[in-house]
């Protein structure tokens, strides 16, 4: 018995990997679904975007890469649908060099579905290196920071950029951020200085870091990781995957993935509990023996 318990505690990690693999595959193969509630931070984010009047312009900084795409792309897609169906204009920038090939095709696809025209209803100004410096420059003067957009058009000539010189001229700044540079740098560099209305979607590991900003009112909403993306999808598409309209065909990947996340969490909890039970029993046997 003692040997078995010790073996269990010191088991080859590949058994843990195998168990985790099963926990991830099972919801996908067996179509196991769990319900979930919407967090107040995600609700606040949705409400603020929902309150935007038609014709207003949002500055969207999409800063993620292939590694963080599964967590943030679902939010990004749902957010674009949300903005375009409210006839809100979108000006997009990015501070991550690997983001453009990910975000541009997605935006073109969703804008096309909503009948939105490039230059009039949306624009992508491109990637800007420089991290915090780029953010400061965005706060001070966007046309100077991005003299031309990603298609080579002069930024000031774009109809969507009329009257938009600084970040504070936009109705809101939304940061879809996988790390550095991202939400924190926007908050530290320009949110406070210009008192910008700012929301964020971030990876799950960064969310605890940004909760203080939400509590302090520097962020009006925060969607953290896959759960945040799934909750936002639930709010934007309350009837589930849309079967008609511009959003027809949206798969709501975060909502599907949340089931995997839940089972994965349960597996880890079970491992920890069993590991501790084995630990205590082993210690007791050793103390007695």
């Amino acid at each position: 018995m003692l040997d078995l318990l010790i073996k269990f505690q010191d088991m080859d990690r590949r058994w843990v990997f195998l168990g985790m693999g099963f926990a991830i595959l099972l919801p996908m193969l067996a179509n196991i679904t769990f319900g979930f509630e919407v967090d107040e931070r995600v609700q606040a984010l949705y409400d603020e975007v929902e309150a935007l009047p038609a014709g207003s312009t949002v500055l969207l900084s999409a800063d993620f890469d292939p590694a963080s795409r599964p967590e943030l792309d679902p939010f990004f897609r749902a957010h674009l649908h949300h903005l375009f169906r409210k006839d809100v204009k979108v000006v997009m920038v990015t501070l991550w060099e690997f983001a453009p090939p990910l975000i541009l095709p997605t935006t073109e696809e969703i804008a096309g579905k909503h009948g939105k025209e490039y230059g009039t209803d949306w624009a992508f100004l491109g990637y800007k290196p420089g991290k915090e410096l780029a953010i400061k420059a965005i706060g001070e003067n966007i046309p100077k920071t991005f003299p031309k957009d990603s298609r080579g058009n002069v930024t000031t000539a774009l109809p969507v950029m009329q009257g938009m010189k600084q970040a504070k001229d936009f109705a809101m700044l939304m940061s879809v951020s996988a790390g550095f540079p991202g939400t924190r740098e926007y908050v530290l560099q320009i949110q406070g200085q210009y008192n910008l209305k700012m929301g964020s979607s971030c990876t799950a590991v960064s969310a605890p870091d940004y909760i203080p900003f939400y509590k302090a009112g520097q962020l009006f909403g925060l969607a953290g990781g896959m759960p945040g993306s799934a909750q936002y999808e639930k709010l934007v598409f309350p009837d589930g995957p849309p079967t008609s309209g511009p959003a027809k065909g949206e798969r709501l990947l975060a909502t599907q993935a949340i089931n995997v996340l839940n089972l994965g969490h349960l597996f880890i909890i079970a491992l920890i509990v069993l590991g501790n039970i084995a630990f205590f029993i082993t210690r007791r046997i050793e103390d007695q023996g």
Partner: protein, 204 residues
């Protein structure tokens, strides 16, 4: 004995303060490694960090009186892409089997992958970062973890130079001042006086 030490100075640019702190510590680590006539492998994510690290390690070996033991090929640029760097560093760990892994600097998602691979090798692992999001992973997987400001204090602690140690004392005094401001501000805000809040508010 006889196994190398692996030093990873984080994945951020040279101008990041955590990378600078890591370079300051690397000099002393390189000197100690040279004194014990062992090897140090430095795995770098940013090319310019690699150049500075190379000079620092060389100087450390020279100072220890073992310039011949310095191998320029041991300070390596792997890749500027985060996970490619992580994969390359893991490869170094699994092939070279260092006795000690030292992770000091700014890390992001690759931190746990590095630390777990190091654990597989049964290396002694020392980590230090001011990235609060990565600290839990290092604490779980490494033997010793330097949290936040401890990373910046290490170089002063190792050198014992009074001028450097005094800067630690000065930052402690500033911390006391910050705590006093927080307590005073909380008390004043509780009675409806926003003077401390207004004093520390920035921007328009």
């Amino acid at each position: 004995m006889g196994k190398p030490v692996l030093y990873v100075p984080g994945i951020d640019e040279l101008q990041d303060i955590q990378t600078i702190a890591s370079m300051l510590i690397l000099g002393q680590v390189a000197k100690t490694v040279a004194e014990y006539q062992s090897e140090i492998i430095v795995s770098c994510c940013i090319p310019i960090v690699r150049e500075v690290a190379d000079e620092v390690v060389k100087a450390g070996f020279y100072q220890a009186g073992h310039p011949d033991a310095y191998h320029p090929g041991n300070t390596r640029f792997i890749s500027s892409e985060q996970f490619a760097f992580c994969a390359g560093t893991n490869g170094i760990m699994l092939r070279e089997k260092p006795a000690t892994n030292i992770y000091l600097g700014r890390f992001f998602a690759e931190s746990l992958i590095l630390a777990e691979t190091g654990y597989i090798n049964r290396s002694i692992q020392i980590a230090g970062t001011a990235e609060a999001t990565q600290l839990p992973f290092f604490v779980a997987a490494c033997d010793y973890t330097l949290i936040g400001e401890e990373l910046f204090a290490v170089s002063a602690y190792l050198s014992r130079d009074p001028r450097l140690v005094s800067s630690l004392k000065a930052s402690d005094y500033v911390k006391v001042f910050c705590v006093a401001c927080v307590l005073l501000g909380t008390a004043l805000a509780s009675i409806g006086n926003p003077i401390m809040i207004d004093l520390f508010t920035i921007g328009e």
